[in-house]
Amino acid sequence: MNALSKDMSGPLALFANRLNTLAGAERQSAAGALARTGLPDRKVEAWHYTTLRALGKQDYAAPPMQVEASTVRSLLDGVLQAHPAMAALPRVVFVNGRHAPAFSALPDDVDLSFFADDPQFGQQAAPDRDPLVALNTALAEDGLVLRVPAGVDAGHVMLISLGVAGVDPLSFHPRHTVVVEKEAHLRLICVQAGQGAYFHNPVTDIQVEDGATLEHLTLQTEGAQAVSLGTLYAHVGQQSVYDSFVLGLGGQLVRHEVHARLAATRGVVHVNGAQRLAGQQVGDITSVITHAASDCTSRQTVRNVLDGHARGVFQGKVLVERIAQKTDGYQMNQALLLSPEAEIDAKPELEIYADDVRCSHGATVGALDDDQLFYLRSRGIPEQEARQMLIDAFLDEAIALVEDATAQTFCRAVMAARFAGKGESA
């Protein structure tokens, strides 16, 4: 026990036992930062639209060392059966934030190691500015450390994170690092799934070195009771490409926060996404794209379909620093509300300090278009089916932005598997 314990009030108390017994300066200083700020509430501008009330009042335990293999197997099968091609791809499987070698099929062509063996926190994450990164820094046990050597095209690699919990909540805080060295190419597909009450709090540190390309798809299909709050940092080098897409379908409360930094000239960043939520789900896509060098391009298109009492949040900031002349930035957030109780909160934000730029953003919110519906119905398509077609088409325009064809297929497959025959859930 140390002096922190008395400051661990509010939601932080949920982790108090674990935060009080930390070893290492980095973890202790992160816990200190956390004790000073606490977990964010609505008064923190970056968390204006998303509360952490879903974390509840029960303590979050560290995950047990042993997890029933059959449970993991069935969860993993559930993930892989979305598309036949998936099982053939190399994969690294994490269960409750720890590497599970028995379920992995490790890739060749890349340097692979694990955070647990040599904890490195990286340079990009800022525990003192972001409480959830601080929480991760304090409690991280394991994580993927993947390095694609210069000039290598490593093909596809899947990173599958499974949460296995019961009624008593547990939390895991994996710390992943992905480095794509000069002129190298990687297609990374992250899948998140699980069951029971767990809190998944990953921090991912990505570096795309000069001339390299990383295509990054995240299929977010967390379990129904899951809280998943992930933070991702991407450092994009000269003439390199970070092309990302997140498909948000699962979880009780899910936040996907991306900080992408265009650090050298002629870099390209795509932070696209789509989410389809129903019931009481809350899905938050937050991004900060920083143009810190000239002649860079950023694109962002996010589409939301919200049914039931679901709430979608989009916060996208494009920051163009003084030096980033000739910036080309575009951002679009669109939302479709399917039920009277659904809600969307959007905050697209431009912060621009360079004058020779072309930046724009747009946002739209509305219901299904009656004219379009009428068009389909007048051609004999039943209402339910017509609505489904329009919803699918709306989301598909975003999915079409995924440049990697395989990844695009997976997106559609996961979507179809989840909503097959269900139509709109109430």
Binding site: A346, P348, L350, A354, D355, R358, H361
Partner: protein
């Protein structure tokens, strides 16, 4: 007759009456000691000969204010304000001014000249002392203007049933009306600056348009901060009953001073069934010099309530002045089918900072709102559009369209767009778009090639950029606003 000439003549007529009483009364007034406490508030209230309820309202607001913190969320930076270091009740004592135009700062004169104000008016604006008997029959001095307009046209307005008078007078003469509406749109505790204003406001305008009356003329007020070390806290309340309509113009100027002065106004508008209010502002408070010294802190709360069905409130603003602007004219769209509009041009140059925008709160069915915001940043300034569009669950059929465009002139300035879009109704449609760019080389080249100087070319392009907003202004204001834009951007190119 061209509108400008007409205005000038109207103003000249006002001028004559201004001196008769507005000016003299002021001379007799005095200055309260620096600082803010209950005694000062009691003093203000007693000088204004206010009824007891007004004093109590002020004191309650003061209590609320004491418990509040200055808002920090806006994208502006300034040293902490010492609220005890200002006079809260100050009437400008006439000090010996410059004796002739030659003694007046030529910079100031040049500005007036460009605004199209004739020389003898310039003399008055600059505060040149004129010997008794030789006083020119024109006065455009803003502090007195609102009073004189009210006086001059009071008869015409009275015949129409419109009340237009200083709010301090309204508190005495029409207490029931004031009491019924004051603080109902912007409650005293709404925010830090509205609480401060509620406690210490000294004057402002009150407009009441009864049922079915279209106000026969445009009402106009010029606000001017005159004295040193004072804050200005004006309070405007406009109520338009069923079927009535009014167009209200507000102009603001301030002399150049080294130190910053605080301006924290509150404007409340109430529109009942089928009523419409058009509120136009040309804000030209002193922005500080090119090094960022001095200038007005303009922390203003403006809000309109569309209480009645089909009512309409339209805000148009041209913001060129102030060292710091913090201002979000808003509409609460409560009545079914009510309409809110916000047209804004905000120009910042040198070290100015502006964080301005609007809030459209859709409560009623089929409510509509339009937001057109044009932001121009030059020099080392920072300009932010911050706007909220919120659709509440009952606002079925609500519709919003927002367009925010920013223009950057020079590579040392910043332009930011921060819209908040919140929809809780599936039958609402919201569209938002924003762009940021610089003046296109092609446009500039085209103008330059035809012999325009770079500065004129920029002026022309900027005016085109702002056209959607400027065309919403009443004619006289539009002319003034165009010139203001040009002056504000002076020295920002080349």
């Amino acid at each position: 007759m061209p509108a400008v000439t007409q205005t000038r003549e109207a103003v000249e007529k006002l001028g004559q009456s201004t001196y008769k009483w507005g000016f003299e009364t002021d001379i007799e007034m005095d200055m309260a000691p620096k600082g803010l406490n209950e005694d000062i508030i009691r003093l203000i209230s007693s000088r204004k000969e206010e009824p007891e309820w007004m004093l109590e309202w002020r004191l309650a607001a003061y209590k609320t204010w004491q418990a509040m913190e200055e808002p920090k969320w806006a994208k502006v930076a300034f040293p902490p304000i010492d609220y005890q270091d200002a006079h809260y009740y100050a009437a400008p004592r006439k000090k010996p001014g410059p004796r002739s135009l030659d003694e007046v700062d030529p910079e100031l004169l040049r500005t007036y000249e460009k605004l199209g104000i004739p020389l003898h008016e310039q003399a008055l604006l600059a505060g040149v002392e004129v010997p008794e008997g030789e006083r020119m029959p024109v006065a455009v001095d803003a502090v007195f203007d609102s009073v004189s307009v009210a006086t001059t046209f009071r008869k015409t307005l009275e015949e129409a049933g419109v009340i237009f008078c200083p709010i301090s007078e309204a508190v005495r003469e029409h207490p029931d009306l004031v009491r019924k509406y004051l603080g109902t749109v912007v409650p005293a505790g709404d925010n830090f600056f509205s609480a401060l204003n509620s406690a210490v406001f000294t004057d402002g305008s009150f407009v009441y348009v009864p049922k079915g009356v279209r106000c026969p003329m445009e009402l106009s007020t010029y606000f001017r901060i005159n004295a040193k070390n004072t804050g200005q806290f004006e309070r405007t309340l406009i109520v338009v009953e069923e079927g009535g309509s009014v167009s209200y113009l507000e102009g603001c100027t301030a002399p150049m001073r080294d130190e910053n002065q605080l301006h924290a106004a509150v404007v409340e508008l109430v529109a009942m069934d089928d009523a419409s209010i058009k509120y136009s502002t040309v804000q030209n408070w002193y922005p500080g010099d090119e090094n960022g010294r001095g200038g007005i802190y303009n922390f203003v709360t403006k809000r309109g309530a569309c209480r009645g069905a089909r009512s309409k409130i339209s805000w148009t603003q041209v913001e060129t002045g102030s060292a710091i602007t913090w201002k979000y004219p808003s509409c609460i769209l409560q009545g079914e089918g009510s309409v809110g509009e916000f047209y804004s041009v905000a120009v910042t140059n040198n070290h100015q900072q502006a964080d301005t925008g609007t809030k459209m709160i859709h409560l009623g069915r089929n409510t509509r709102s339009t937001i057109i915001a044009k932001t121009i940043s030059a020099g080392r300034s920072d300009s932010t559009y911050r706007g909220l569009v919120r659709v509440q669950p009952k606002a079925s059929g609500a519709r919003n369209f927002t367009q925010c465009d920013s223009l950057l002139i020079g590579d040392q300035c910043g332009a930011h767009t921060v819209p908040y879009i919140e929809s809780r109704n599936m039958h609402a449609r919201i569209e938002h778009e924003a762009t940021t760019s610089k003046i296109s080389e092609d446009q500039l080249f085209y103008c330059r090639q035809r012999g325009l100087s770079e500065e004129d070319a920029v002026g022309l392009i900027v005016n085109g950029f702002c056209r959607d907003v400027l065309k919403e202004l009443p004619m006289e204001f539009a002319v003034e606003a165009q010139k203001l834009l040009q002056i504000s951007l002076e020295g920002s190119v080349g």
